[in-house]
């Protein structure tokens, strides 16, 4: 479920923070920037694990703050394909089931991947597994907040870089 990712980033420390404990400043700044954020092709960053290397600090013209290149490792939530995870059903729609892990909500099970045979109950707005036992079909409702086990089939990172706008001359 979790991996360590090694990243490098330039920390900007404002002048009013000069003189404070450098390690703590760097740690706080990294956690501020990365905690609970999804990094493209890496995963959901949970927290800073450790700092591997702190470079020299530079002060650039036009900015009084110091800039330091820092190499560090972050605990990242990134399940591998085929991993089995447990989550709670957040919502059901005719498209499929949305599952949440509490700290991560974007798990979607398209209806094609649900167990056969199944049907979508329009009244309750829930998916139902029509389990057959001894020739008798039993309706197993996939209620909200129920725990489910699921296998990761695909991961998608949504790229949200804004498209180039028209520049006015």
């Amino acid at each position: 479920m979790f991996v360590l990712a090694e990243l490098e980033y330039i920390i900007r420390v404002e002048p009013r923070r000069f003189g404070k404990d450098m390690k703590r400043e760097v740690r706080d700044e990294l956690n501020r920037k990365f905690a609970n954020k999804v990094l493209h092709s890496v995963g959901l960053c949970i927290a800073l694990y450790d700092i591997t290397r702190v470079g020299d600090s530079y002060i650039l013209p036009g900015d009084g703050a110091s800039h330091t290149k820092v190499r560090f490792r972050v605990v990242v939530f990134r399940p591998f394909v085929d991993e089995i995870l447990v989550g709670k059903i957040r919502s059901c729609s005719s498209e499929g089931v949305r599952v949440s892990l509490g700290f991560f909500d974007d798990v979607f099970i398209p209806h094609q991947s649900l167990q056969h045979p199944k049907r979508f109950d329009q009244e309750e707005q829930l998916w139902v597994w029509q389990y057959e036992s001894e020739g008798e079909p039993h309706d197993m409702f996939m209620d909200l907040e129920e725990e489910v086990r699921f296998r990761v089939v695909q991961e998608t990172f949504v790229d949200t870089i804004p498209k180039d706008g028209q520049t006015s001359s």
Partner: protein, 162 residues
């Protein structure tokens, strides 16, 4: 000073809230090692304890939120009752079966108690192991890794006694 820059966008996973941060992040290694649920829970609990004494940092909200939610989730998994010794013992006991790293990791994280659960984790289990071996694997899992909740007793859940 104008300079062309290579930007990466950070996007929060919290539904409904999208935090966009432009930054220059260099990815050295996307995967510098896998962590078991226990290692993550242990690490987060330790850092939570360390930061409890210090003054509350108003801008540390994201870290607090995700740390809390993750520990909440993990404390309801088998990781909550594990320790480094039992995991080490388990890995030693399971070594002769030549399982892949991913399979061993999932056995530790999920602590399967039935053949059905085991079939999900171990690929082509019927081709690789006989029924006896499968029972053996389940036995090792149940003996080396502590159970996360008290074993089921005779009374069914949810029965009302007047």
């Amino acid at each position: 000073i104008r300079r062309s820059c290579k930007c990466k966008f950070l996007l929060s996973s919290v539904q409904g809230n999208v935090y966009l941060v432009v930054s220059f992040v260099n990815r050295i290694k996307d995967n510098a090692g896998m962590l078991s649920n226990f290692e993550v829970l242990d690490f987060l609990s330790e850092s939570q304890q360390k930061s409890q004494g210090k003054r509350p940092n108003g801008r540390g909200q994201n870290l607090a939120t995700v740390t809390y939610e993750t520990t909440e989730y993990l404390s309801k998994t088998p990781a909550a009752v594990q320790n480094p010794t039992c995991i080490e013992n388990f890995l030693k006991a399971i070594a002769p079966f030549n399982l892949t790293k991913a399979e061993k990791l999932q056995l530790v994280n999920l602590r399967p108690m039935s053949q059905v659960e085991l079939q999900l984790i171990i690929e082509e289990i019927d081709e690789r192991f006989s029924d006896n071996k499968i029972e053996e694997i389940l036995g090792i899992v149940s003996s080396e890794l502590p159970p996360s909740s008290p074993p089921n007793d005779e009374n069914p859940v949810g029965s009302d006694h007047q």
